[in-house]
């Protein structure tokens, strides 16, 4: 945000926006805490659900009349497709596991599970680790990420 100066109308506008947001949020949070609000919101929500259900029933009836697939037909097809996909994923995982079991040398080529946190690495080992680091130094740095993120993090969303 730009620095505020007495002659900067945009900074004043932003400040005003922040104040309005704070004020309205405070006011609204008082209103939504009330029992009256809870009652009204639930009534509205129930009415909306009833209306939606009626519309869905009506659309389904018309769809059937014109021999078109209804929402629930499409949903059923989607669910069957998803179930088939689930089976395919399982078969692929099982095949991979079998292939790994048949070729133990190849499966052992994954990363070694020997990592230690830096504070537990004995000092004598440090120069060796520094000479041949398991993780490239550049890859371990989070500085660019931090810089990128710090450059722009929307206040409203990030505060959620």
């Amino acid at each position: 945000m730009a620095d505020a100066t007495p002659l900067d109308p945009l900074a004043m506008w932003r400040e005003m926006l922040a104040q309005v947001e704070k004020g309205v949020n405070q006011l609204a949070s008082q209103s939504v805490k009330s029992e009256k609000f809870a009652k009204a919101a639930n009534q509205l929500s129930s009415a909306n659900r009833a209306r939606r259900k009626m519309t869905q029933a009506l659309v389904s009836r018309y769809s059937e009349e014109f021999n078109l697939p209804t929402h629930s037909d499409i949903e059923a097809i989607n669910e069957r497709l998803q179930a088939l996909e689930d089976r395919i994923v399982d078969i692929a995982t099982t095949l991979k596991r079998l292939a790994d079991a048949l070729a133990p040398v190849a499966s052992a080529s994954g990363p070694a599970r020997t990592r230690k946190p830096p504070e537990l690495v004995p000092p004598a080992a440090a120069p060796v680790a520094a000479a041949a680091p398991a993780v490239p130094a550049a890859a371990r740095k989070v500085v660019p990420a931090r810089k990128r993120a710090a450059a722009g993090s929307p206040r409203a969303k990030a505060s959620r």
Binding site: T5, V32, N42, S46, N78, A112, A134, A145, S153, A158
Partner: protein
């Protein structure tokens, strides 16, 4: 400030604002006509999917990993990509670069035939199944668990029922325990006005728009001011990218299985059973004191979804001796993602987990 300096400063500011106004107009058209940034791009493999359950393993980014694999359990209402937004802003990527073998238990929208799913299915079936598959895939018996929000709550319940299980350490973020402290949600779901049976019987699964509206009503001006702020910052590509990522995630709400929603409303919102040690899963009592493994609980200071009071009892109630609560600046989401998380939570998590992962 003398007069010539003040004039120069004003002229500079006017120039800058004109430049930004031009950028806003040019980039604003791009914004309206383009898709948002790609989210969740860290390479991963789908190990298993069963309806709503999806277990992923992320590809290692180091030549050497910690012995103990790490399983992240995501909240049911939100997509797991909040923990993997974009390169440089991804907790998953950060953990991979620190040398963890990362798995994620993420959730698909429950199908209509999954409306019967209850908490029992999550804590006695999905999570144990995921843990078993992590063991099989990694070849290790021990597993470390990380939970976020309701994912943390389900992991907590799972741990009370599997106290001698393979999980060795548990880190969790913004995990609700005392539902009486979630004042607004309690008020809105008060049984005097809210007929959860009618809702579930009518809709099957709890609709995502209802859940989205509930989150939205906690901060009613967020949407309007967010839009104004993004327009104001349209010249700033990083801001716009970040806004779009968070905005897309926040709107990408999943439905909840109807029976789960009914059970959570009655047992937690109405009766606060988890806090009172009265909750039962399949007839088995859920007592937090049964948890004895090392636990780290990270809570956000300004969390309006799971306020501090709702999350605080976890550490007090568990039976562990090695337990730690950290309260960090930020909100429900900024605790785990975005610039603040990179500086605050991620290094703390790594420092806690690293020595417990060998």
């Amino acid at each position: 400030m003398n007069a010539p300096v003040a004039e120069a400063s004003i002229a500079e500011r006017v120039r800058s604002e004109i430049d930004r106004a031009l950028q806003r107009s040019i980039k604003g058209l791009d914004y309206l006509g383009s898709d948002g940034p790609k989210l969740g791009s860290t390479p991963r493999e789908l190990l298993h999917r069963r309806g709503t359950m999806a277990l992923y393993r992320y590809r290692a980014l180091t030549d050497e990993v910690y012995r103990v694999p790490l399983l992240i359990v995501m909240a049911l209402t939100n997509r797991g990509y909040i923990l993997d937004l974009a390169p440089g802003q991804s907790l998953v990527e950060y953990l991979l670069r620190q040398g963890y073998d990362v798995f994620m238990l993420d959730w698909n929208a429950p199908r209509s035939d999954e409306k019967h799913l209850r908490m029992e299915d999550y804590v006695l079936d999905f999570i144990p199944d995921a843990v078993r598959r992590v063991q099989e895939t990694s070849g290790e018996q021990d597993v470390n668990l990380v939970g976020y929000c309701a994912g943390g709550m389900l992991s907590t319940i799972y741990l009370t029922l599997h106290a001698d299980g393979p999980v060795q350490n548990f880190a969790t973020f913004t995990t609700p325990i005392d539902f009486s402290e979630m004042k607004l949600f309690s008020q809105w779901s008060d049984k005097k006005h809210f007929d959860v049976d009618k809702l579930v019987d009518t809709t099957g699964n709890a609709p995502p728009d209802m859940i989205y509206s509930a989150f939205d009503m906690l901060r009613p001006t967020d949407k309007a001011t967010g839009t104004l702020q993004v327009w104001d910052n349209m010249w700033n590509d990083e801001y716009v990218k970040s806004y779009r990522m968070f905005d897309r995630w926040a709107a990408d709400i999943l439905p909840l299985p109807g029976e789960y929603f009914r059970q959570a409303t009655k047992s937690f919102m109405w009766d606060n059973q988890l806090m009172r040690d009265k909750f039962k899963v399949d007839g088995r009592a859920v007592k937090l004191s049964r948890i004895r493994l090392p636990v780290l609980h990270a809570i956000a200071e300004h969390d309006h979804i799971v306020p501090y009071g709702a999350a605080k009892p976890l550490i007090a109630k568990i039976g562990s001796t090695d337990k730690e609560e950290i309260v960090l600046k930020g909100g429900h989401v900024s605790l785990v993602a975005g610039g603040n998380a990179i500086k605050r939570l991620w290094p703390r998590l790594d420092a806690w987990l690293g020595k417990r992962s060998t």
